[in-house]
Symmetry: C2
Subunit: 303 residues, 2 copies
Amino acid sequence: MNSPSYTIAAVERDTGLSKDVLRMWERRYGFPVPERDGHGERLYPAAQVERLCAIKRLMDQGYRPGKLIAMPVEELSSLAPRRGAQARTKGATVDEPGQEELLTLLRQHDANGFVQALQQQLARQGLQRFVQDIVAPLTQQVGDAWEDGNFEVFEEHLFTELTKRVLRQAVASLPQGRGSPRVLLTSVPDEQHMLGLLMVEALLALEGAECIPLGAQMPVLEISRAAAAHRADIVALSFSVAFPARQLPKLLEPLRAALPADIELWVGGSGVLRLNPPAGVRRFSSLDQGVEALAAWRSEHAG
Amino acid sequence: MNSPSYTIAAVERDTGLSKDVLRMWERRYGFPVPERDGHGERLYPAAQVERLCAIKRLMDQGYRPGKLIAMPVEELSSLAPRRGAQARTKGATVDEPGQEELLTLLRQHDANGFVQALQQQLARQGLQRFVQDIVAPLTQQVGDAWEDGNFEVFEEHLFTELTKRVLRQAVASLPQGRGSPRVLLTSVPDEQHMLGLLMVEALLALEGAECIPLGAQMPVLEISRAAAAHRADIVALSFSVAFPARQLPKLLEPLRAALPADIELWVGGSGVLRLNPPAGVRRFSSLDQGVEALAAWRSEHAG
DNA sequence: ATGCTCTGTTTGTCCTAGACAAATTTGTGC
DNA sequence: GCACAAATTTGTCTAGGACAAACAGAGCAT
């Protein structure tokens, strides 16, 4: 029962730290220091992988690696919130009544209870308010809790999966006609979060737009081909906080150039909040703006 | 209107070829030969990226890079099937009546029509036969068509997204009680395909098992924690053909070791067909086997 | 005190170039 | 025609160096 070892590829897969970063840290900070196999290749003991996971999680909360690696083991006690402690308390004030109950169900791993509670809220409030007043803040809170280390990875996954189901079900029950405009919804590679996309789809479909959901992770070159094939009027992309902000302009400019000028390009999600959008790209910082923009598009193209 | 350039990171993102491979090819085969920016960093012209995409697609069909890179431009004409031309004709013989219609709707990008046709089949056949006779072969055919270059990436994405919706909706409509056994369904990082997982879930849920869907891409270390938290009896993982087969044993062994011995570990999907499963890991090569294994589990744990 | 710019440090990504092993193809003997 | 050995192809790993973008803190202005 000796503890298993991980190759550098396995560590990259499990921690999300790139091979380059793992080698760099070893060179620069002296951690991790993996063993070597017969061919000089790194073999990371499980203990070091666990510590790397802990470090990564704290980094995602805003700590810097230099500090974390220097710390002995009482990092675990510094699980405290860091980035956005103020935003969190602000968020707590606009708490909906059902919010706390839903979070509690998640923490108890009660999948059935959570889905039922969600569906109850949906039935009570209607889709639009459900999305704006329940799902959006809940997603925010789960994200915050995860950043604070108050949520396990698998709890967040369960939340995402179950919420996606309820939303998709609600969208599917809407009358699906040949609406206008035709909105193509997707995300770029490296961006797998779909909840925001689904929320937008729900709101736009409610307003009678025809949504073409392509799922996540569409290669950039494919997006323009898809837009042409589906005769889309608008291409809508979603970016989560996790998306590397520096890559955004370099990604959006070629895409904008590849799309015909008469197809609008909309981007939204918490990943674009700080973005200065390139010419011809419309940035949304809230769900409401999407609905407004839809109305504006219609009056513009009324002819 | 000069054509945009891509950094090596962007090319990796869009083509799926790793930075290491891109540099290696340049060194070894003399293609691609990107320009350099002021700091000596690679800048790939759009034309080279397009060609790389074409090469990658043919590689996924079984061609080898050395040949493809040598070819001038008439690679495009060699779009023909290669790997599994025999499997394809074999598959075509067991064609269901609705199959061809569904594929046609996809090729016409008729999202609404496709969903309606799917739901019609579901209503007509019932969930079990719908999964086994419609969704499973259709997935196979779409995969084959994609390998042959007869499907665009975005057409495959649309298929996946719409089919997931119909399946999830069907699963959601099943009575959700406290069933037994409790089955935790997920996939490992680098494995994002969820359709297989959903098919299994549909079949198991039909039989009254309690499924805990955690979505895709769960870090290996988290899977065992999730299994404990949800008091799972069985952990079921899905692997698509695209998953690198060599990494499988190295991935499954630590996971098996980390899981308590009384929790079974089931793996399935076309990615494990050639796998010799490690001790304590059960491999499934068809959907039926899953249902059988469920019955076997129950009689074993009848006490 | 709050907001700004400027500078120094931190940190990730990119670079070159060599080595080797796993997978595949090819060649050989039966 | 089939099994096994040899040669090829191909991807991933290793090493250390370089540099720019992001961040933190100092100094100055409001």
